[in-house]
């Protein structure tokens, strides 16, 4: 146990590694290592001269790891490294926002060249969810927690153990001091009264006076770190669907879609999509502004939506039984909110798809009838009663493209429909085939007698909705609030202490504040006003 404690001449047992005796403040010989044991220097008051244990013991692996994370230097480096990587990740879009059908392995090189390829190969395309990025952030958290524990504990010990009676050296080697004051009883009483006026707590012991205020300011950084930890915990909670959902769904007009992230519980129907632009003709006040604008200026993107909830627990793929929850108009920044979820307007494909195509069949300028091809529900055959004609749909390509193997479809969405159909009619000598594409109908043989015209097309829009749920926000708020309390606590209040030390009939005064020495000097003027106290000197500035 001998090397475990150091006995100060005042009788207090200090822990190994202590710089200043916790009780009387006398420097422990050989332990003022911070300033090279210079007897003339102002005392290093950091952590009250308490023993930062991690700096003292490095015996086991646990102690070594602890010591590593306790270091502010390590913490700063971790923050710098994380910042640099975070910044690098924003150079090109992250994978989830690349908005391209190309796979990532091709996308980055194609789009951004060599640097894009490097970006992809280094794994920056998926940085913020990568294990090493999460680990970096977590290490910052570890550093915050350990360095806080490692500083808070000795600081609290030191402040709790401090005595009114301090060692002469401790008082005389404070930064701001006043030596050899000849003070009368009156002077001392005035000083004490003034100190109390300045809201100091005044302690006395054997003629020694110790005044202190705003000790709680010292806890500011630790409170602020608790706030940071809560924010980190909140960000961990975000990984769970129960707490946080951020998803996206496309809904076409007239369509009901399952809302992703709700486990097939909620559905949204797009009743109508409204796209409006500013009209220079009807709205005169915009005429001037719109004069030089080539493209129409959008005024409103709106989805009239109905929200449903499945009343049964449908098996995957099974048609759910729906009950209406709510309905509303979703506009930019005006979401529809239901049961903790919000649906935001965030994308559009205005009139990008064909809902239906109406065609009329003619022979020698005589109509043989008309039919409407509903892209989603069209039957494979149409009967035109008036002329006993049958139209058979041979092939249907929702998004027509021509490949080496002939016509094909790029997707199931009728963005560029192609229809191959056969007309059989008693009016015709033989069956005739036609090809609908791009709002025109082309005969597939030169000798086709009939004629097919497109009489009407009905287009529809697809609306992109963002699904959001965030139950972590209150926790983030709490963390940020505590953070701010900690910042104010440490920033707007100062921990100030004054020691009056009687020695051989004169008084030495030592002063300490954790910040704002200028304010301290002003406060000292108020405290010593009308007394015989010599003016204070700043020992640090004298050098």
């Amino acid at each position: 146990m001998a090397n475990e404690t150091i006995r100060c001449e005042c009788g207090h047992e200090n822990k190994e590694g202590t710089v200043l005796c916790e009780a009387c403040g006398k420097p422990i010989s050989e332990n003022q290592h911070i300033d090279g044991n210079d007897q003339q220097n102002v005392l290093e008051m950091r952590y009250e001269g308490g023993a930062r244990r991690s700096q003292t013991y490095k015996r086991t692996v646990v102690d070594k790891v602890w010591g590593f994370f306790s270091s502010v230097k390590v913490g700063v480096w971790l923050i710098v490294i994380t910042l640099v990587f975070s910044a690098l990740g924003t150079i090109y879009p992250q994978e989830q926002f690349k908005n391209s059908p190309l796979p990532s392995s091709a996308f980055y090189e194609e789009e951004y060249g060599l640097t894009g390829k490097i970006f992809y190969q280094l794994g920056f395309h998926n940085m913020y969810d990568s294990w090493w990025y999460i680990t970096l952030v977590a290490l910052i958290g570890v550093s915050i927690i350990i360095s806080s524990i490692d500083r808070y504990v000795p600081l609290r010990r030191a402040l709790k153990n401090q005595k009114t009676k301090k060692n002469e050296i401790f008082v005389k080697r404070q930064r701001v001091v006043s030596f050899d004051n000849e003070l009368s009883e009156n002077d001392l009483n005035t000083v004490k009264t003034n100190l109390k006026k300045q809201r100091y707590k005044v302690h006395e012991e054997d003629g020694h006076i110790f005044a202190e205020k705003n000790r709680f300011s010292r806890w500011g950084p630790y409170v602020n770190h608790i706030g940071l930890i809560i924010i980190l915990i909140a960000s961990i909670f975000r990984m769970f669907e129960v707490m946080h959902i951020d998803d996206y769904v496309w809904v076409r007009e007239g369509e009901v879609q399952a809302i992703p992230g709700t486990g097939q519980e909620y559905y949204v129907e797009n009743n109508k999509f409204i796209y409006e632009v500013y009209d220079a003709d009807t709205e005169e006040r915009f005429t001037r502004a719109l004069e030089d604008v080539e493209n129409p200026v959008p005024k409103n993107f709106q989805t009239n939506a109905t929200i449903y909830r499945a009343t049964n627990d449908p098996i995957l793929g099974e048609k759910p039984e729906l009950e209406k929850v709510t309905e509303g108009e979703i506009r930019l920044n005006q979401p529809v909110i239901f049961d903790g979820y919000s649906l935001y307007q965030s994308g559009t494909q205005v009139e990008s798809e064909y809902n239906s195509i109406s065609m009329e069949l003619q022979l020698n300028n005589q109509s043989l009838g008309a039919f409407t091809f509903d892209t989603d529900e069209a039957p494979s055959e149409f009967k035109l009663e008036e002329s006993d004609t049958t139209i058979t749909i041979d092939n249907w390509y929702p998004e027509l493209e021509f490949t080496d193997e002939g016509p094909s479809s790029f997707s199931k969405y009728p963005r560029n429909p192609g229809i191959i159909f056969t007309v059989s009619s008693p009016e015709l000598e033989e069956d005739e085939r036609f090809f609908y594409l791009q709002e025109k109908v082309i005969p597939l043989a030169d000798n086709n007698q009939a004629n097919v015209n497109v009489s009407e097309v009905d287009r529809r829009s697809a609306s992109g909705l963002t699904v959001k749920k965030d139950n972590t926000l209150p926790l983030f708020g709490l963390g940020a609030g505590i953070f701010m309390i900690g910042v104010s606590q440490g920033l707007y209040w100062y921990h100030r202490r004054i020691w009056i030390h009687p020695k051989d009939g004169v008084y030495h005064i030592g002063v300490h504040t954790n910040k704002n020495w200028y304010g301290m000097n002003q406060e000292l003027d108020k405290i010593t006003k009308g007394t015989n106290v010599n003016s204070f000197v700043d020992q640090q500035e004298m050098k």
Partner: protein
């Protein structure tokens, strides 16, 4: 207890908690990234309306005991259409040995599915994924995609892309129920 020992225990506990939290977060994160579907895991159950027999449904769970091929296709997908005849040809041989095929079309228009189905005179069950939810859960982005499911309901093999007659027969052998 001696103070040094106490401190060591305290530090170890704190470090273990922190490291434990980190590991937990990393595992959760890794799980959210990994596709839920892979060979060896149980195939998610689904229930779809049959198009070849109107009014009937087919549920994957009820096919336990049989080897099941779930094939995602669409009429506009040329390679899908090409593998259909192979599937039908083998279906004739393997149906009695306990192999079932569920063709899931992701088309929006039912009549074109039926059209194609009838034109090739196919005989295995034809279904439609109207809500697009099955496709979503099975993480089908490119067509065709086939899942070969063991009689016990686990996924034996995932084939993203077309199959040939030979390869298909091999896959069927893998999921063939044992003769009792």
């Amino acid at each position: 207890m001696n103070k040094k020992k106490k401190r060591l225990i305290f530090r170890s506990v704190v470090l273990t908690l922190l490291v434990g939290t980190l590991v937990f977060v990393l595992i959760v994160n890794a799980n959210s990234e990994r596709p839920d579907l892979e060979e060896g895991v149980e195939a998610p159950n689904f229930k779809l309306d049959r198009l070849d027999k109107s009014g009937e449904t087919i549920e994957l769970k009820e096919l336990r005991g049989q080897g099941v091929m779930v094939n995602f296709w669409a009429t506009y997908c040329e390679p899908c259409k090409k593998e259909m005849p192979y599937m039908d040809q083998l279906y004739q041989d393997y149906k009695d040995q306990g192999i079932e095929i569920v063709a899931v079309s992701v088309d929006r228009n039912e009549s074109v599915i039926n059209n194609f189905y009838n034109s090739l005179d196919l005989s295995f069950p034809s279904t439609i994924d109207r809500q697009e939810t099955v496709m979503d859960v099975y993480e089908v982005t490119n067509l065709p995609a086939s899942f070969f499911i063991n009689p016990d309901g686990t996924i034996e093999r995932i084939v993203r892309g077309p199959v040939t007659l030979e390869s298909l027969e091999g896959y069927f052998q893998e999921i063939l129920p044992e003769k009792s």
